[in-house]
Amino acid sequence: MRTVPGTAWLLLAVVAATVAVSAAAAAATRCPAAGCGQDPARASLTGVYLGQAAVAVLAVLAVGGEYSTGMIRVTLAAMPRRGAVLTAKAAVVTGLVLAAGAVAVLGSVLAGRLILPGHGFTPAHGFAALSLGGAPVLRAAAGSVLYLALIGLLSLGAAVAVRDSAVAVGAVLGLLYLFPVVAAVVHDPQWHRHLEQLAPMTAGLDIQATTGLRALPLTPWQGLGVLAAWAAAALLAGGLLLRLRDA
């Protein structure tokens, strides 16, 4: 993976996209008065919405690239235990995404810390400066890094299962982005809630909430758990298909 030229660029893209969008979102958020209902941690971590797309590409290309060139046959010939191949790939992807995600999230929190106090997020309005010292903010930041890693695993599983990078990345992004769109037009409150609990992105990003926790359909860690379940299911499906099929 180290020798594929795209990897470094994609890791850079993860960091750049996350930090840039986070900073832009922080710059666009205003809190005119006390109790404005804004969540400063969430606003300064908005970039994860875009960063996850780069993570998905990275993870999909980790296997999709091998399938498209036929390299996978060489890999599997060298490592006949296919489960071990998948585990190794998952470990490498997770490590890379955790590293890039940590840098991206730290950059976003730093941008939020610098920008938000100028936009009304002041102690007078009930907001302390964004700091990783506070338990909720630390949970939001660390959770966002884990979120990105889980997106990586989900994409990896999907790529192994469908064996084509374009289809895999389309399926992953569809899974992530479509749930909220459908949820927005469902009017039955119960269905709406279920959709928000099931959706990998909506539930997973509950981890970023630091205010209004009671209004959330899931607690932050439960939400991340939902995404972990999706990722596990994708990896399991990918692993099973890898074992059963010819390369």
């Binding site: 795209g6 404005c36 919405y49 875009l50 797309a53 290309l61 909220p180 469902v186 269905w191």
Partner: protein, 534 residues
């Protein structure tokens, strides 16, 4: 590029063989014979229909009051559009020729109290928790209306809180008159004259010099109409929390009180003034406070609540936007984008592109042929899906107790054709980026991020409204404006959000933004194809 080394006759033969029609036929054959692509495009159409169907199935609009199920009244204006028609009306009959004149000396009102958190405090009584103030479009003045039925044709001259004197008619019409609001020191004289179906509005700052504001024709006015005084004030809306949970609009009824004197009606048979509350009551879709009027000598004090205006997109009304039936277009879009990218990257992967370019050395022509094929196929698939999805899912929404705002047939046609065209141009954009980037996963991601993500971010209010609006002006996602079915009228206070089906650009202007992106991507792809080796 290459110097002409062939003899003229061979060149002519080559031009004939490699014509655009041949390239087109070759690309169509390629598309048709790859099973995965045909399946992908079918999936795109199916997803478009099915997701809207699921959303409709998962919706439930039953309306319950303590007294049992209720039946909301949804008034429709003379133009066929959904309207709000709620006000307090002090009126007399008016014959075919006549006029009404009045002087407005005051417009005041009551607003619900807003707590620091942005919530409107629930009142205990009809007046509890209200404080003085006006909504920008609180209004009072004189009106000539075909009858007291909600949605009946009308023309009115009014003083508004923030928008000066206006002449408004048949809900959608709005003409500006004198600026400023009315006070005892600076009153406003208003006049409406009727001659058959023609109503002319005048205003004056001194009662002597009159200026014509506008003349309108209300087709089919009955011989006797109702003319009189009115006051109304739209519900307050406060934008609160943001985040994936969605924005909540907490509305509360407001009241406007206007004081009129020097009231003169010509062409009315002698008789007393009647008073009617138009709209409101248990069957009203919007909360309305009770109105009233008081008369002392020649001075009328009229208090009313509600609005006389078209229903805005995403407004407080309880109806649904028909564009929701096409919510599945996103899924269709993603599937179409994947197919379009593979349509070109698959050739690179297999090395087939070298054969293609050897057979048809004009690379720009190959790209154009591919763009035409993928655009046409996607348009056809999208159009079939839209033509099935809109009637089917509207029927389902109605069956679940929903009320869909009436939309003219032409707008429905634009919704369906526009959605199909949006899918087609998005597929062309994906194809061009696929040719430029040559890595399918990256190309698919770039297109999805450029089209779906901005819409998603705007629709779920992850970003503040202003930032989301700019994204929907500049990003390819602007094309979703073709799905706006209800116009955003300036005479209604409304937060224009994509969640409410309201876009910052006009439908075809938004579509043009996507076309511009696709054209730029095609130009880039053509340039890179010519420069690079295959």
């Amino acid at each position: 590029m290459s110097a002409p080394t062939m003899t003229p006759s061979r060149q002519a033969a080559r031009a004939g063989r490699g014509s655009f029609a041949d390239a087109l036929r070759a690309e169509w054959t390629k598309f048709r014979t790859v099973r995965g692509w045909v399946i992908g495009m079918t999936v795109a159409a199916l997803l478009t229909v099915l997701l809207g169907w699921l959303a409709a199935e998962g919706s439930n609009f039953s309306c319950q009051t303590p007294a049992g199920p209720c039946h909301l009244v949804h008034p429709v204006g003379p133009g066929g559009e959904a309207v709000t028609d709620a006000f307090y009306f002090v009126h007399r009959p008016l014959a075919r020729a006549g006029s009404i004149t009045a002087r407005v000396t005051s417009l005041t009102g009551l607003l619900p109290a807003v707590s620091p958190g942005g919530r409107i405090r629930a009142g205990q009584g009809p007046q509890a928790g209200l404080h003085p103030g006006l909504e920008p479009w609180s209004k009072g003045g004189i009106i000539v209306k075909a009858g007291t039925r909600q949605g009946a044709a009308y023309a009115a001259m009014m003083v508004t809180a923030r928008h000066g004197v206006r002449m408004q008619y048949d809900f959608t019409g709005d003409i500006a008159g004198l600026p400023g609001t009315a006070t005892a020191a600076s009153p406003r004289w208003l006049r409406l004259t009727r001659a058959g179906d023609t109503i002319t509005g005048y205003d004056s700052a001194d009662g002597r010099h009159w200026t014509e504001v506008g003349t309108v024709t209300l087709a089919g006015l009955p011989a006797t109409v109702q003319a009189g005084l009115f006051a109304t004030s739209p519900a307050a809306s406060v934008t609160t929390a943001q985040g994936l949970v969605g924005m909540s609009d907490t509305g509360g009824p407001t009241l406007a009180t206007t004081v009129l004197d020097d009231v003169a009606v010509r062409g009315a048979p002698p008789g007393p003034w009647a008073a009617s509350q138009i709209g409101g009551g248990p069957s009203a879709a919007d909360p309305v406070q009770g109105g009233r009027y008081r008369r002392s000598g020649g001075t009328f004090t009229v208090t009313g609540s509600g609005d006389i205006a078209p229903e805005p997109p995403g407004g407080a009304g309880s109806g649904q936007d028909i564009a929701q039936t096409l919510a599945g277009a996103f899924a269709g879009l993603i599937a179409a984008v994947v197919v379009a990218v593979m349509f070109v990257t698959a050739e690179y992967r297999r090395g087939l592109i070298r054969t293609t370019f050897a057979a048809s050395p004009h690379r720009g022509r190959v790209l154009a042929a591919k763009a035409v094929v993928i655009g046409a196929v996607t348009f056809a698939a999208g159009l079939i899906a839209a033509v099935v999805a809109v009637p089917l899912n509207s029927h389902l929404l109605r069956a679940h107790g929903g009320y869909l705002y009436p939309v003219p047939a032409l707008t429905q046609a634009r919704l369906m054709a526009g959605t199909a065209a949006m899918l087609a141009v998005a597929a062309v954009l994906a194809l061009a980026l696929g040719a430029a980037i040559r890595r399918s996963a990256v190309a698919v991601t770039v297109v999805i991020v450029a089209i779906v993500l901005p819409y998603l971010v705007a629709v779920t209010n992850v970003l503040p409204v202003g930032a989301g609006q700019w994204l929907l002006r500049l990003a390819p996602a602007a094309a979703f404006a073709v799905q706006q079915t209800i116009p955003d009228y300036p005479q209604v206070s409304n937060v224009c959000t994509a969640a409410g089906g309201c876009y910052p650009l006009a439908p075809w202007a938004g579509f043009a933004v996507l076309c511009a992106w696709a054209a730029a991507a095609l130009a880039l792809a053509a340039f890179l194809l010519r420069r690079r080796d295959a």
